[in-house]
């Protein structure tokens, strides 16, 4: 009894916390100044998986593709109740668009023992595309149920899901295995458990360890540095404190479908949204000012 749930998570810059501090003088946003957070709806996906485990038993595996710093949200996943966490980190995966990302994630899922349900947040707050979930479902040949608000029922063969589609709702039954995307309204994610925190706070990814020792230096060019890193990684592993890490070779990914080469969409141009200087007409905050404003709107036929 019990189900194997796999949750896809992403670390994102907190685009909802664009404060004055994160604004540059030219009116654009300093992305580096934004804190990195657990993508909100991925937390809802994790909570859904943990509730399945609470109710039916089983295991929850969390997969994250990202840079070394993304280990932070994998530790957080352990604190909240995940059984196994895996970081996919590979420079060759950089600049992957949603299609290449979903391909890489599908290769990772195929390395896992039998999966019953894949869960993703509906969308990430940095890109808001909501594409990786459906694309991953297609890559894995699974049925997809997007916008899960409530999981009503789960058996070995199927799930029944209440979907929120904005202008209404649907109750749908899907065969298992399946992929669902979870919306923010689905639940309130549980906080980190203090006991689990004590147990897992020492967990580190090998990329994190390498970075702690080598900084920005390339350890491949320095045998002494590399030996120190390897020794430390072995030490962490022996204590069971090493976060599992996979690269594209480990998951048997075809490099032609990864990274920039594997991404059909390319960036043509990026423009920062500049908030300065269109210049507007000011009216005084008194009877005269208000009257002038209304008069202005009537005269130009905006009101009429």
């Amino acid at each position: 009894m019990g189900y194997h749930c796999v949750v896809m998570v992403k670390q994102v810059p907190d685009t909802k916390a664009v404060t004055a501090k994160a604004m540059k003088d030219d009116g654009t946003v300093n992305r580096a100044a934004l804190p990195a957070v657990f993508n909100p709806e991925d937390l809802n996906a994790l909570e859904t998986a943990l509730q399945i485990k609470d109710q039916y038993g089983g295991t929850v595996t969390v997969i994250c593709m990202g840079p070394p710093a993304a280990c932070e949200i994998l530790r957080d996943s352990l604190y909240r109740g995940a059984d196994r966490v895996i970081l996919i980190s590979d420079r060759r995966a950089a600049a992957s668009d949603t299609l290449a990302t979903s391909y890489i994630l599908s290769c990772a899922v195929r390395q896992l023992p039998k999966v019953d349900l894949v869960l993703c947040g509906r969308q990430a707050i940095d890109g808001d595309t909501a594409q990786v979930g459906p694309q991953l479902a297609e890559k894995l040949g699974l049925p997809q149920v997007t916008y899960l608000e409530k999981l009503m029922e789960m058996t070995n063969q199927h799930i029944v899901v209440h979907r929120n589609i904005g202008n209404g709702w649907e109750l749908v039954r899907s065969k298992l295995p399946a992929l669902v995307t979870v919306i923010g309204e689905a639940n309130v994610p549980r906080p980190a458990a203090a006991k689990r925190m004590m147990r897992y706070k020492k967990m580190r990814g090998s990329v994190e360890i390498a970075r702690e020792i080598a900084g920005d230096k390339d350890p491949a060019a320095d045998p002494v540095l590399k030996a120190r890193i390897d020794a430390r990684i072995t030490e962490f592993k022996a204590k069971g404190n090493l976060i599992e890490q996979w690269n594209l070779d480990n998951i048997k990914a075809d490099l032609a479908w990864c990274g920039r080469d594997g991404s059909p969409t390319k960036v043509h141009r990026i423009q920062a949204v500049v908030l300065k200087g269109t210049g507007h007409k000011q009216f005084a905050p008194n009877d005269d000012g208000v009257r002038d404003l209304i008069h202005n709107l009537i005269e130009e036929h905006t009101l009429g």
Binding site: T129, Q131, P264, K266, V267, D287, L293, N296
Partner: protein, 341 residues
């Protein structure tokens, strides 16, 4: 993926439910017409369902040259895998160079599934589309590509995305950002029937129950919108927004913050996660103007901002501004409007 075919048509997925077309494919027909004319190719729409009645004629009146219809009892209700199957087959047969979808709950569920199966590019939530050239770094120049323009990073940047080697070029487009064209019932077009081999086993998901509710508020159709934000202060104060709207015959909107604080219902939300509006006049009261909000209203013809904070970003896109307490300003506006009548 399909080969790059410069003669391929521009296609629009004609989203319909229970025999009713959504607004967004009709809005897309105005932009699609522009793109197809620029490329000198045909503008097609793809219509799936069962019992679709007069919808092909409507699509032609709104600008389509061709309506490709696939009717089947199993296509009556939208389902990801069956719809994706049929559309992928049609894409392989007709080799469109561009396929556009509404960025609706349905479009955002369907388009990525198709993109993945076709191994084609897809850009989500575009706010503008153009045709233009792209020069690869130290490489060839690709002529007449679809420039897919969208806000990213919570609206802090505008990205233009292209897709030159794996076609079709696909995008979903936000509801309400393209103008609805005027229908012309004299327009002529072709209706092409296509068969499908969808079988019951293709349907991996079954709908047990379905419930739709029309939005109580139609912000998109409003000529004037009075909108309140967190700066309104309380649900009681929000009554002033309703009062001003009443005296102008306007609709009431709210920022995400106002909705989250319970000042006004979610149906009224304007912004990236709410409704995108482009009224003749948008009056923003106590709205600071976070990027998510601006993304949903900055196309308004005239923007009036009332805010006690002179440095609020909303003033950066406003045409007229009053720095002051809206609790004092709004009653004065109502008075001035009454005096005019």
């Amino acid at each position: 993926m399909i080969k790059v075919n410069r003669q391929g048509p521009v296609w629009i997925f004609a989203e319909q439910e229970s025999g009713h077309l959504s607004d967004v494919p009709l809005e897309l027909l105005s932009k699609g017409r522009e793109l197809a004319d620029h490329l000198k190719v045909r503008l097609g729409t793809v219509l799936l369902g069962q019992g679709i009645g007069e919808l092909p004629a409507k699509l032609i009146a709104y600008g389509a040259d061709d309506v490709i219809v696939t009717e089947h009892p199993l296509l009556k209700d939208y389902q990801t895998t069956s719809y994706a199957r049929v559309i992928c087959d049609l894409i392989k047969k007709y080799e469109p160079q561009i396929v556009l979808y509404g960025a609706t709950a349905m479009g955002r569920d369907l388009a990525p599934r198709i993109a993945s199966e076709m191994r084609a590019g897809l850009t989500a939530d575009c706010t503008d589309l153009q045709i233009g050239d792209h020069a690869e770094k130290d490489g060839p120049v690709h002529k007449n590509l679809l420039l897919q323009i969208r806000p990213a990073f919570g609206g802090n940047i505008i990205a233009t995305i292209i897709n030159y080697d794996r076609w079709p070029q696909m995008a979903t487009v936000r509801e309400g950002v393209m103008r609805m064209p005027e229908p012309d019932t004299r327009r002529k077009g072709n209706v092409i029937q296509e068969k499908t081999h969808v079988a019951p086993e293709d349907l991996l998901v079954s709908i047990i129950e379905k419930h739709r509710q029309a939005k109580k508020v139609n912000l998109k159709a409003a000529r004037i919108i009075v909108s309140g934000g967190a700066g309104v202060g309380s649900k009681d104060n929000f009554q002033l927004i309703w009062d001003l709207a009443n005296s102008l015959g306007a609709a009431v909107g709210g920022s995400r913050a106002a909705v989250d604080l319970g000042f006004v219902d979610r149906d009224h939300q304007v912004g990236q996660t709410g409704t995108t509006v482009r009224p003749a006049l948008y009056i923003a009261c106590g709205i600071s103007g976070a990027v998510q909000h601006r993304a949903g209203m900055q196309e308004s013809a005239k923007i009036v901002a009332i805010n006690s904070d002179a440095s609020a970003p909303i003033f950066g896109i406003a045409h007229y501004g009053i720095v002051g307490d809206m609790n004092i300003i709004i009653p004065k506006m109502i008075k001035a409007l009454k005096a005019r009548a």
